[in-house]
Symmetry: C2
Subunit: 313 residues, 2 copies
């Protein structure tokens, strides 16, 4: 394994000692300068800057959403066809919780990850060329889907993967109806402007358990209560096809799901090419590539609609 370099000072220390309380974000939220030909409106850019997330309706046509649902269902139906490490099961059951690297295992998901309607926005918001840092499908099965506890993605990506700065974002694409009842994503609007360092050490190979149930890299309860009290909590609910972009440092989580309606969402994480991971800032070893790509090339945006043909590379 190549020795990973570190070129950037640790601007966001975390773990290893008791929680220090919130500190201020040291990076911009919107890295690009808005111009009339930007892929989102000025009001939308300001919403993303202020709230840390932005919901976009009707980015994809209904038949494109149907293709994505079909592709996701195909991956879920045959997890044995995938490398075992990219398939994460629910704690205490054999049901699939997440599948990673979907853009490497499905031609349609690869085409989605390169889609200009998403990539152009990511490039504008991050002010740089971008690549896919991580992709995944999160399935929250009906009846016994388990919660995802509160976390900032960036805290983990920084400490465990060596992402130097806050210059990445997630694109959430709803593939099932997300209702107030089936464990939708909850976010604390505006929380991306603060950084909550987390106490506690990072066990070796922490990801093997944290993907099922996170017990390290979680903020302390007092900080979370203060943040929720100040910022409030909003659920991302909507019909299949709704797209929500959110900043890498937005505090988010979701409750479990006892309803019969499974919740199924695709996540694509884009990182600025200038912000590639270095040596982890708080862990002995870097996590595998399916959690933090290190070799990805800048994406060339693909124009036009998603078609079934994309599934035949």
């Amino acid at each position: 394994m190549t020795e990973l370099r570190r070129a950037t000072p640790d601007l966001y220390p975390s773990r290893g000692e008791p929680s220090r309380g919130p500190s201020h974000r040291l990076d911009p939220v919107v890295h690009g300068a808005w111009r009339p030909d930007a892929p989102i409106s000025l009001a939308q850019a300001r919403t993303f800057e202020t709230e840390g997330f932005l919901a976009l309706d009707a980015l994809f046509a209904p038949d494109e959403v149907a293709l994505l649902q079909s592709s996701a269902a195909g991956l879920l139906a045959d997890p044995g066809a995938l490398p075992s490490d990219v398939v994460v099961r629910e704690p205490g059951s054999d049901e699939v919780r997440s599948i990673f690297d979907v853009h490497l295992h499905s031609a349609l998901m690869a085409r989605l990850a390169a889609d200009a309607r998403i990539v152009d926005i990511a490039r504008f918001l991050l002010g740089d060329e971008v690549y896919v840092h991580q992709s995944r499908l999160n399935y929250k099965p009906g009846f016994d889907g388990k919660e995802f506890y509160w976390h900032s993605d960036f805290e983990t990506w920084h400490v465990e993967d060596g992402m130097p700065r806050m210059r990445a974002l997630s694109v959430l694409i709803l593939l099932a109806e997300n209702t107030e009842h089936n464990g939708p994503l909850m976010v604390m609007p505006g929380s991306h402007r603060l950084y909550l360092a987390c106490g506690g050490a990072t066990p070796d190979d922490h990801y093997l358990s944290s993907l099922k149930k996170q017990e390290y890299g979680v903020p302390d309860r007092l900080s979370l209560a203060e943040l929720a009290s100040r910022q409030g909590i909003v659920s991302i609910i909507g019909r299949p096809g709704l797209v929500a972009l959110f900043d890498c440092n937005l505090m988010h989580g979701s409750n479990g799901n006892i309803t019969p309606q499974p919740r199924s969402n695709a996540f694509l994480v884009y990182n600025a090419v200038s912000n590639r991971p270095e040596r982890p800032f708080g862990a002995a070893r870097a996590r595998p590539d399916f959690l933090a790509a290190r070799s990805a090339e800048p994406i060339e945006p693909a124009r036009g609609r998603l078609t079934a043909g994309a599934a035949e590379p």
Copy 2:
């Protein structure tokens, strides 16, 4: 222990064999005849009959709600002062999940249970004198409150406690704000008109585990999915003081709670005196009195407001 008698045939068989699918309710929902001097309007009575539940706002004044919250907080703060069997902890932690028999351990809760504003409605809907079959506080702590899986109370009360007919109801009183995010009660409107028998046997002393996490007396997934698809799901959300009455056979449950806001609710279960429990219809032994009172006398409704004086009997 006195041998319990059984005088009523088993109209609602359950457990002991594979699930039989839904059957029809054989009892009325509203047992009383509405008249202009009834304690709820004709429209409200019809809502209860059709939906199986009814929300009532402003039944109690803000200072009365504050008294109830204070009483509940006092019980929660010192569970060691209560008999240990009425205090149920969360699965996997020491946090209190429920406290039973609160009307026997708090003068204010006793006064609440007799309050004419509630009891008059219960007497009208059940068409009989009533008594308190069960009382409890359900605390869903912040951060790690666990779910209550789907169930009809009546199925358990019939099989495990010997309640003969569907002639009981629960009164839910919100003591904290119940939001869409902190695991509010979810109900399937209209589900009280069907009876879902449950498969599987009933272990001895099942209640010792079922109060933490129910694994028997739960409907099968196919029946639940059909019921949810036909009836939909509604959350009971609102400010402290909101009162919701719901029929003993309404399908309900709730998700967990990762938000910092605890969810705290009082439940009072009223049963018609003509519907007192007999020998259990599907268990070897009856459950303890704190789960199914057998000696309670008809309640004499108490008129007037809740006052701090009620806390000094």
